[in-house]
């Protein structure tokens, strides 16, 4: 069952330390190299939680791939399953309270069902995670530097205290924290929000991971700082040739940094494709709704924002058929009865799960998207 599907790019433990050489730092436009084989491959991932109220199907048959050097955006409202998906990639769901099935292949190794101890060695070394709120994600009682050094030493048991400190200070410097040696000994509460997120990124990068999962990395930050953090991530990606999964509900962020986009609703993928396809030629009514509820700098400043009516459904009692149908003004009888499958739209790699006939969908899409411009 766990034979790797895709040939790994190298032996699993050969872990290139810093693929970027100093002279290819920051070309005019960062052009990350892209591998042919996806580094992360998720196939038919399902995550269920057994609760007192019933079974929560948080993720229900999600598949996607990410190559090194590429950024995949996962978009959706709260409860759409995006964070649950990312935690599953790190094997962070408690096996006593959840059931994870499907296949997750990281650098050629299948992770689902592996014992905790095997997955643990991958965490932070091959796959690192950046969380939403760096104030609560950093331990309040330990210095920032110590927390970064700790992340380094778990995976480099032979590195001494001094080597780990040097490494952590280097990383703080690399993510643009001034006076890194002094900052090393400060506590998270002595950092500003943006600096804390930089420190979090330094911690994620300290072991040169091939894949970074960033769960709403800019949501808790000021808008001006958001752009800096996204730029920093893009720079580091170009330098270290990292695959990034960026989880966000902010389509502005998606437009800015992602190559591919996955739109999730109620634990399922409703639309998938390149950023251009999903943002400019969206085919799913839910994606149209997301696009219409975001203000735009380029559009008519007086145009009304159109929220999606209603609330996301309960994941215990999903509506029959297309889970989005109660909120969809285009839903027909078939939407109420049959779960739509994810099918190609015709454009390369663009998939959508909707019962609307393709030509009608294209016509509606033109209308829905002409009212609104891209964020």
């Amino acid at each position: 069952m766990d034979s790797p599907q895709a040939a790994p790019p190298g032996p699993p433990d050969a872990h290139p330390d810093a693929p970027g050489t100093p002279d290819d730092r920051r070309p005019a436009v960062p052009q990350p190299r892209v591998d042919d084989e996806p580094y992360l491959r998720v196939d038919d991932l399902r995550v269920r939680f057994d609760t007192a109220d019933g079974v929560v199907r948080a993720v229900d048959g999600v598949s996607f791939t990410v190559r090194r050097g590429r950024t995949l955006g996962i978009v959706g409202e709260s409860g759409s399953g995006k964070s649950v998906t990312s935690l599953a990639v790190l094997g962070l769901h408690d096996p006593r309270r959840s059931t994870v099935t499907g296949r997750i292949t990281v650098g050629g190794r299948q992770l689902v069902g592996l014992p905790e101890d095997r997955i643990r060695r991958l965490r932070g070394r091959d796959v690192a995670m950046i969380f939403q709120d760096p104030l609560s994600a950093l331990h309040p009682y330990y210095t920032v530097g110590r927390q970064i050094a700790e992340a380094y030493r778990v995976h480099h048991p032979r590195a001494g205290r001094r080597a780990a400190r040097t490494r952590a200070v280097d990383m703080l410097d690399r993510v643009g924290i001034p006076q890194p040696a002094r900052r090393y000994d400060q506590y998270p509460h002595e950092f500003s929000g943006g600096m804390r997120q930089r420190a979090m990124i330094a911690m994620a990068l300290v072991n040169d991971p091939a894949l970074i999962i960033a769960d709403e990395p800019t949501t808790a930050l000021d808008v001006t700082v958001q752009a800096q953090i996204l730029d920093l991530l893009a720079d580091l990606q170009a330098e270290f040739h990292t695959a990034i999964v960026l989880i966000t509900h902010d389509l502005g962020v998606v437009a800015q940094v992602t190559d591919d986009v996955l739109v999730m609703y109620a634990g399922r993928v409703v639309e998938q494709g390149s950023a251009t396809q999903v943002l400019r030629r969206a085919q799913h009514p839910y994606t149209w709704g997301l696009l219409s509820s975001v203000p735009s700098l380029h559009g008519d400043p007086d145009a009304d924002l159109v929220p999606i009516p209603g609330n996301p459904p309960s994941l215990i009692h999903l509506p029959p058929g297309c889970a989005f149908h109660p909120r969809c003004r285009y839903a027909g009888d078939r939407s109420r009865a049959e779960v739509p499958r994810l099918v190609p739209t015709g454009a390369d790699g663009h998939l959508v799960a909707c019962h609307l006939p393709p030509d009608e969908r294209t016509r509606l899409a033109a209308g829905a998207l002409s009212e609104r411009r891209l964020p």
Binding site: R121, R123, G124, R125, D133, S136, L138, P140, H189
Partner: protein, 328 residues
């Protein structure tokens, strides 16, 4: 850090001053006349009055208080009726046992310390250990057993638990001698065997509170983002739970422990009575019953010192645990 310490010690001193004034006023200014109680039945008024004069009870309250406080710091002369010279820390002369109060305290304080300190170590280890384990094994039989244990501890009374322990271990199985106090330095084995039942009884009752508190704290901390971060870093479970979760969960436990230990050092009347040990608690109760004002005053003051010191210690521990406290 030094400034923090100085500030805390200053406010601790103020608190103690207030306690001393209040307890002095309450006991020495109350209408109850200690001299009548001391005197045999056929005392005539002249004799009573002379005793009052000798004890200084006819002096103004302020000078009585000043004399008392001066005695604690430098010692003082109590007059021939009360053993003459009383060295610092002079806590006065007991009307009842006819000895310097400081001698009484020197005899009974080690008993209370010997009961409370080992019991506190035991109840902290047991309580926090149970709480952490049941939080990590939430919903299992182990968790339920720990909750049941702590429910029992919280609802039973010490004299009941003590009586059962005595009945089983002393009078039925005869594994342990009848509880008594032997100074630790004289014979550590007899010291421990004479007190172990008191430790167990106290630890059982107190650990219940600590198990519940640390279970709740631990569960809350385990859902914190920084614990998820620690796991995402690839740290092993013992490191995640010990170094990251427990460290953050322990702070409220430290507060409660400080208050409990500080309070218990002032006297554990019920424990001492149940096991027939003569510590601070029984001394205080006996003094109240006999109207032995200097002894009452001394036990109240010493209990206050323990509570205040425990509070300072808690503040220091807090600062050591949580760096965010240090700046204030």
């Amino acid at each position: 850090m030094a400034r923090f310490l100085v500030k805390r010690l200053f406010s601790a001193t103020l608190t103690l001053f207030a306690v001393s004034v209040l307890s002095f006023l309450m006991f020495f200014a109350l209408p109850r006349d200690p001299v009548t109680g001391m005197c045999p039945k056929n005392c005539n008024p002249e004799r009573l009055e002379r005793v009052r004069q000798e004890l200084g009870l006819r002096d103004p309250l302020i000078s009585q208080y000043a004399g008392y406080m001066k005695g604690i710091v430098t010692g003082r002369d109590l007059g021939s009726a009360q053993g003459g010279r009383c060295d610092a820390p002079c806590l006065g002369w007991s009307y009842v046992s006819n000895e310097a109060v400081s001698d009484t305290i020197a005899r009974v304080l080690p008993v209370t310390l010997s009961i409370v300190v080992p019991a506190a170590v035991l109840w902290l280890l047991l309580g926090v250990g149970l709480g952490v384990v049941s939080a990590l094994r939430r919903g299992t039989w182990l968790d339920r057993a720990a909750i049941g244990f702590s429910l029992a501890g919280a609802s039973l009374q010490l004299y009941f638990v003590g009586a059962v322990l005595l009945l089983v271990f002393v009078y039925t199985l005869r594994w342990l001698p009848v509880p008594s106090y032997t100074p630790l330095l004289d014979d550590p084995v007899r010291w421990a065997s004479g007190l172990v039942l008191a430790w167990l009884a106290l630890a059982f009752l107190f650990s219940a509170i600590y198990a519940r508190l640390s279970r709740a704290q631990m569960l809350e901390t385990l859902s914190e983002d920084f614990v998820r971060t620690a796991r995402a870093k690839g740290l092993s479970q013992p490191t995640v739970y010990g170094r990251h979760a427990l460290r953050a969960a322990i702070t409220p436990v430290v507060t409660i422990a400080g208050l409990d230990v500080g309070g218990a050092l002032g006297g554990t009347v019920i424990t001492e009575t149940t096991f027939g040990l003569n510590g601070m608690g029984r001394t205080a109760v006996d003094a109240v019953r006999a109207g032995d004002l200097p002894t009452i005053m001394a036990t109240v003051l010493i209990a206050a010192v323990f509570v205040v010191l425990a509070n300072v210690l808690v503040d220091l521990l807090y600062a050591a645990i949580d760096p965010r406290v240090r700046l204030r």
